[in-house]
Symmetry: C2
Subunit: 379 residues, 2 copies
């Protein structure tokens, strides 16, 4: 089951305020969906992820297939129970891993640093660790070299065993540098798989989102958005390449959202930076996942009202202020920059957790403020 | 300030129930003092260490001298404020590091695996990373090769800057294998340093404990206990070698506690195992520090009512029970062996924290039960 209600459509932009009702609770949109790749928000407990203001998490089908394996999760009563998250949950389809462990690994990049890739991948070139066919993707496990096949039916089967509230159709996320002809071919495959996923879906309590691809090409993005919109999906994911700069990213999102049924929710897969968040919301995005708050925390970077802090710098050892004097989170109430900086320098694990909690709280507050701004006609 | 009140002396053993009143709160004794070496119980926040039932923590003077340096802690308002632990705190003197980074490092051992050392160290042999003189200890930092001198006056100065409620006199903790003649010489030094520490102590709100040494030799243990007891210390630490087996450990503790003023509190420095705890309490020990619950947690070992579990074993992936079905901690209430086992196998940091919390709660409950047993004339 999934109900989506647009409470308010902004008059200033395409931004909208909504309520997304799932079998495990209601999500106020727009919202950040923190990443819990292996059924955990790295360094936090589920209770802490909730205390940091998270409404819905997204887990990773491909990683959970490898560890612990969906049968263990299913036998534990499903993902919600397994990870003690009795709240809304998403699982992605594994499609992004086709890129990041295949082309991405070969190029030494993940999506977050896509701007560095250049034009290395040629049409039809196949990466070493995987082979994409019309049926699906043959992986060589980076863990132990074992072989694994993932196609639309397998992805649905795994996602249904995991039991998240919102699951995604299996897609191919082509490399950023791929040319028009390759993307076109890849898109046909993704669209064919979308239909297979719709047919393979069994659980009524799970909502299935179709994924719009098409790279940086207007005609392909529009074609993909029109096709996915024509299918009986419960909502939409928008994936893949977002163009070379912020402007082209917003333009591309515009091409897509114009084609999508406004009554259905739209999830943007993998947003890079804090400053992108208001922009994508103004393009009508309702939910988006983002590793930035958690990933940067583990590298010592705090997001605060006035910018960022690198806690590894020795100057913070004598700084008695909280991470963000304007923040009302439990970490800022109890700990100083000095202490957290000490913990990082002393290689104490607690440092990672304190900073992850703060960053996640900060991002969630940031998006909550945007919801408030939409409500008050400011966005 | 320090007030110690024996509420009840057992009639069955030397065990006693007490209240230890410090400038930052009251401790019910006997109690475990969890180790917060670098001003943090590894993987936990201070709030979590308290929620796990910890009453008092012990930090490490030597490590905090190196990182972040006591001046940063002092400028932050002292250790309590720095680490957000507005409760009783101890700092040890740095004496154990003289062993573990000197002789211990050369022998490849810490105190916890002392039984493996054998008779390698000969009388007067000096380890590579430090040089012990009558004034104190010259360290070569294992972090960056820099030189550091720590003597009784330096240790007092650092511990006063750190500001714990209970501080320890600077001692030499001789290697387990050392012979009588070496221990005797070392003991004279430790006793001389004890007097220097008493003279160097300035802060009235801090209590100073003298440390009894003497290795495995009855005459030296008794001599040390009598000497330390004759000095105006607020309480006692018992350190160093505890003999080759549990029986000799208890015998040795008996030699010492018989000589100590029963009105003053007794802290046993570094207890190895869970099964030692009831035994040392029956020898009249009031407080003791122990890395076992936290250290073993980080290696995947859970302590439970029926023994221990190695969560890295794959059998636990399908075990839906909590770590300990009889445990009332937040981890056992919310998470399964299956999930925690998955997190360990997936190398997720959250695993370390969940297990540390449980183990610490378990140990604290275990000791709380012994207090109850003393109260009810069962111990």
């Amino acid at each position: 089951m999934l109900e989506f209600k647009v409470l308010k459509q902004s008059e200033k932009s395409k931004a909208r305020l909504g309520l997304l009702k799932t079998a495990n609770g209601i999500v106020e949109t727009p919202t950040l969906v923190p990443v819990a790749t292996q059924a955990v928000v790295k360094t936090l407990t589920s209770e802490e992820a909730a205390a940091a203001g998270s409404q819905m998490l997204i887990c990773n089908t491909f990683h959970l297939r490898l560890k612990p394996g969906e049968k263990f999760v299913k036998s534990a009563g499903g993902l919600h129970k397994f990870m003690n998250w009795p709240r809304p949950l998403m699982t992605d389809s594994g499609g992004f891993q086709v890129f990041s462990l295949g082309f991405g690994k070969d190029l030494g990049v993940g999506k977050i640093i896509k701007e560095k890739t250049g034009e290395i991948v040629r049409l039809g070139q196949q990466p070493k660790l995987l082979k994409i066919t019309d049926e699906g993707v043959h992986f060589t496990s980076f863990l132990d070299g074992s072989r694994l096949f993932l196609g639309p039916e397998e992805s649905m089967k795994i996602q249904q065993a995991l039991g998240a509230d919102i699951i995604f159709a299996f897609d191919e996320c082509p490399p950023p540098a791929a040319e028009h002809a390759y993307i076109k071919k890849s898109l046909e495959r993704t669209h064919r798989w979308a239909k297979v996923c719709l047919k393979a879906k069994r659980n009524k309590h799970q909502a299935l989102f179709g994924i719009v691809q098409g790279g940086r090409y207007k005609d392909l993005r529009q074609e993909s958005a029109r096709f996915i919109n024509s299918q009986p999906f419960d909502g939409f994911g928008i994936g893949g390449e977002f163009g070379e700069d912020k402007k082209s990213m917003m333009q591309m999102l515009g091409w897509v959202t114009e084609e999508l049924d406004p009554k259905k929710p739209r999830h943007l897969l993998g947003v890079g930076y804090l400053e992108d968040i208001p922009k994508i919301i103004k393009q009508g995005i309702d939910t988006f996942d983002c590793i930035v708050p958690t990933h940067y925390a583990r590298h010592g970077i705090a997001f605060i009202s006035s910018g960022t802090l690198d806690l590894l710098k020795s100057v913070f050892l004598k700084d008695k202020k909280p991470l963000d004097p304007k923040c009302s989170c439990a970490v800022c109430a109890n700990y100083s920059r000095s202490y957290i900086s000490h913990l990082f320098r002393a290689k104490e694990i607690t440092a990672l957790k304190l900073l992850t909690f703060h960053n996640l709280f900060f991002f969630n507050q940031y998006v909550s403020k945007i919801r408030e701004d939409i409500r008050n006609n400011k966005v």
